[in-house]
Chain length 343, copies 2
């Protein structure tokens, strides 16, 4: 029998290969595979469903990830997908595969983070499945949300001349991860080693305890703005903007000087001898919102806080480009974090 | 810090411990943890959500489980939970953690089983998540279904004198598993060994490619029968009947001679020197429906095919009993398969 290695396709290629012939047959199925969440109809009101699978050793390292933070983050990354559809998360189910080295107290810690996130975002835990795992800790969370039919924002609605915005700042979570990985390799073998994270708390928080941008979705709604397309930045600005462009059959122009970067991120990139723009483009796990709005809304958007104009949508034949500080055009590539590539 | 071993609580004890203080805060949350599926409201129409996490080495052994069957079963066990609420499965999301030894063709096999199940049961695959796994194959499926508000059947509605029914027959899946495990230990080390499963196909099919009882739910609806309580038998008749009794604040009396057992199951139990009633009570993975209906429906129920009257509900103070063939009363215990108990 033929054997094709999975690494030859990559994550998106594999999903596309396996699901390309899947059709929607049920009246209630509005949108299937290919957006932040699936969309189902209930007499005009829409139900959104998204799911995330987190595996120990792939998505998190328990050496430096407190279980309470992990519970918080596992919930929040799902809420983020619902907000990215302009929806409201309402319920989650939580399935856990638990390794033998865990105690009941460990799981209490994990659940305390989950519950805190649910309390803050107004979401109920309604079900799940708990089993033992022969190996690492396995977390599968599914989030159900709601949205009005006419307010759902997909990835495929960006139009030529639309403005591209991102919330918050980018790259901090990735630098937080680099910092944790460095300290881990330093203190491995020395039990009394106390890592010094002074002045880098923001980077650690962005990595270990990210927030979903409920506030941005609320602000846009308050000002009557419905984006033409939206996605949350989990794989990296570059990769996620390309998702929007491909699904909208559009090109884009992104301006390097406009990409929002926090001071701590810049300092840490310098320390690690990394290009901070590359970090912001490809780092991922920012959970900021990336969205497009029609050009005529420019002045209205200008008055809003916490969002940044980073570029605009172009015709598809113009491709996907980053305009650098010195005016060069560089092609954008999906170099986001790929857990299926051979490592 | 205190350390309490998880095995001291068991699966249900652990879930209860972690979730006992969880409250429903959202208007749309109708039913949370503790039934076959969670229930959400959408203007009177109800959305059902259930999820299952399947881990290699815990829930399946790839040495004797064809990937196509595994895909089929992974979908069907979720459909079964929706039918057990008297609902209709509509969509699933599929998250996979893929080990490096898998090829694209392996995943095509798995997906072909998933797709076949979805085609047969009329369900759409609408999303998911795919990642690599450092260890075994990880499958997390979430199923969304619908039901009319007044037709949803919970576990907590059984009343004194209600009749207890099961569909199909019990214990075959467990005997299929025993058979596969025995052949595995025989052929380990001998690559040319061909196991002889002649005459035991039914047992293997029940274990490797079970069906959800869509037909039973349809038959009951056709005859205008809404059970007072229902559950699907995944942990075993004994354990699952106790779930109904505990949540309905009721007792039960089950009659050994009425428990439906297939001929192949009985023969195989004899071969393995096992008590066939114990197998039927505690084997699990039958995915048959266990439900209760009011006593006055007795004659109407008598005319239906494919279901078996196995006992009746009693007041809670009368406890949970099996009446054996020789008229003894034995207390029912939840000895169902417990993946969290120390092994």
């Amino acid at each position: 029998m033929q054997r094709t290695e999975i690494a030859t396709l990559g994550e998106f290629g594999l999903i596309n290969h396996l699901t390309k012939d899947i059709k929607l047959t049920q009246k209630s199925s509005v949108k299937g595979i290919g957006d932040d969440a699936a969309v189902m109809d209930n007499n005009g009101k829409r139900t959104l469903v998204t799911t995330d699978l987190l595996l120990e050793g792939i998505h998190f390292d328990l050496i430096y990830t407190p279980l309470k933070h992990l519970g918080y983050k596992a919930a929040v990354v799902n809420f983020s997908d619902i907000y990215a559809m302009n929806g409201k998360p309402q319920q989650i189910t939580v399935s856990l595969g638990i390794s033998k080295r865990f105690s009941v107290e460990d799981l209490e810690e994990f659940y305390s983070g989950l519950k805190l996130a649910c309390e803050i975002y107004g979401v109920d835990i309604v079900g799940g499945d708990t089993t033992s795992s022969l190996t690492g800790f396995t977390i599968s969370i599914t989030c159900v949300g709601t949205a009005d039919e006419e307010k759902i924002v997909y990835r495929n609605g960006a139009k030529n001349t639309d403005l591209i915005y991102v919330s918050g700042d980018l790259g901090a979570s990735y630098m937080g991860l680099q910092l944790l990985e460095r300290e881990k390799s330093v203190f491995t073998g020395d039990k009394n080693f106390q890592p010094d994270f002074g002045g880098r708390e923001y980077l650690l928080e962005r990595q270990l305890k990210p927030e979903a941008r409920k506030d941005i979705v609320a602000m846009l709604a308050e000002h009557g703005i419905v984006p033409t397309s939206m996605i949350d930045i989990s794989d990296g600005l570059s990769s996620d903007l390309l998702h929007i462009c491909h699904q909208s059959h559009a090109g884009c122009q992104l301006f390097e000087e406009r990409i929002p970067i926090d001071y701590q991120t810049a300092v840490m990139a310098e320390t690690f001898n990394m290009n901070v723009t590359t970090v912001a483009l490809n780092g991922g796990e920012d959970y900021e919102l990336l969205f497009t709005v029609p050009l005529p809304l420019h002045e209205k958007m200008n008055k809003l806080e916490g969002i940044h104009l980073v570029g605009h949508i172009t015709p598809p034949e113009q491709g996907y480009y980053l305009v650098t500080r010195d005016g060069q055009e560089m092609q954008l590539r999906a170099q986001g974090w790929n857990p299926l590539a051979g490592k």
